[in-house]
Symmetry: C2
Subunit: 257 residues, 2 copies
């Protein structure tokens, strides 16, 4: 149900998030969308790998599979392309988090959101770092679009935190602030993976981070709920997570290549 509402929201909203500050010469809106997606995807990849300034428009065109001139039919400047790339990445992140499996307990829902966020950051480390590094390369007028995209994603988590407060599991803390800490915990995995990787596995990172937040925020009734959550987690891990394949529990996400 939640998922249904969400997807409805995004089909509607998706177009809105490609801002009209970026002008196109081409009339056909469908083509514009398709080409821009090509451009954004290619740009996200190259910018992530080589950085914004080290990537030339010629390289980008080659990656897109068409000529350099064509890019300028769909964006006016290189900075426009950066904006498209960043929004591409951020929307993808948001979609992934939205599609995370749902749960009954508000506490568990926070955990699931955090895990989804960490997972997508882990999966697209380079892209996550791109967002961090390059926002400041945008012209000022473009930045608000990024901020909005970020706020929209954070709201997914903030809602769940608020639910925990309403349910009496969390103390009456500032949900936005806690959300930021959670988001940061996810981002940190990409920012500092060169260090974290050696200290801790992905699953443990998520779990220990969550543990920390819960211990800091929880009420007495929340503590009980957390115990229940941990117990059910343990049981779930003992059977399996997604695919009924291996016997090694849910540990597979911990190492990636």
């Amino acid at each position: 149900m939640t998922r249904q509402r969400a997807s409805e929201f995004f089909t509607k909203d998706h177009a809105d998030l490609v801002p009209d500050v970026v002008k196109s010469q081409v009339a056909d809106p469908e083509l514009v969308q398709r080409r821009r997606e090509q451009i954004a995807a290619a740009a996200a990849e190259l910018f992530s790998k080589n950085g914004f300034y080290r990537t030339t428009m010629q390289q980008l065109a080659r990656q897109c599979g068409f000529s350099s001139g064509l890019i300028y039919q769909y964006a006016e400047t290189k900075e426009d392309v950066l904006l498209l790339a960043l929004l591409h990445v951020m929307n993808r992140f948001r979609r992934e988090i939205e599609q995370a499996e749902d749960a009954e307990s508000p506490l568990e829902r926070v955990f699931i959101a955090l895990e989804a966020y960490c997972r997508v950051v882990d999966q697209f480390k380079a892209a996550a770092m791109l967002a961090y590094r390059s926002t400041m390369s945008l012209p000022l007028e473009h930045r608000s679009y990024i901020k909005n995209a970020e706020i929209a994603t954070n709201e997914l988590i903030a809602t769940r935190v608020r639910d925990c407060i309403e349910a009496g599991f969390f103390r009456k803390v500032d949900a936005d602030l806690v959300t930021y800490q959670l988001v940061l915990h996810a981002h940190a995995w990409s920012l500092k993976s060169w260090r974290f990787n050696k200290l801790i596995s992905f699953d443990d990172y998520v779990a220990s981070g969550f543990d920390m937040f819960v211990l800091a925020l929880v009420t007495d009734s929340g503590r009980q709920e957390y115990q229940r959550f941990l117990a059910s987690r343990k049981k779930a891990a003992k059977s399996k997570r997604r695919p009924p394949a291996s016997a090694d529990g849910g540990q597979k996400l911990s190492k990636q290549s």
Copy 2:
């Protein structure tokens, strides 16, 4: 013991932290050091304000107060200058944290370190972000120098966390990991100040962050210590800011009666 080793490490190490990968044409080492400090300071300022790629070597030379050619007597490439600038910033950060007032209680010492870190990040926001944004613009061989500088700074905090664990105030958590969270909390203030600023004041940010960590990490005996700490903080705030627990009874500065 660990502490002793750390400070020994730093007095000895300070010069070493200007890496010899950066070659200079000039013989006199004193002059090299002076000029490089000039260059690094100017570069840190300009790169912070306008970004690495948007800053030209001519601008940088002007900011230094000498000619563009001279820079190339003290560094071989623009990337070398970036490395100098980043190390300049990070060393400054470390020095500020080192110089933070000290205290008896291990718990308080963690707080002081966190506060010092947050303060310096707040004070040099742009420089802090520079470190985040630009490390990836460095050639691979340069990056390890940055990493080392970061590890050295973190060690200042990690030691204090370990002391808390040894004193029985904190659970037996991974001190390096907790340190990272603390550091991140400080960095977040610069990364996301555009959002945080509206939610919370600097002092509250530091205090609430610390509160969170303590609640999550503390043992029973630590909880008592934390109460004591909070009480003494409150008292200190009532008299004045700076003076550390002296017996002067607040004679020269009476905030309000």
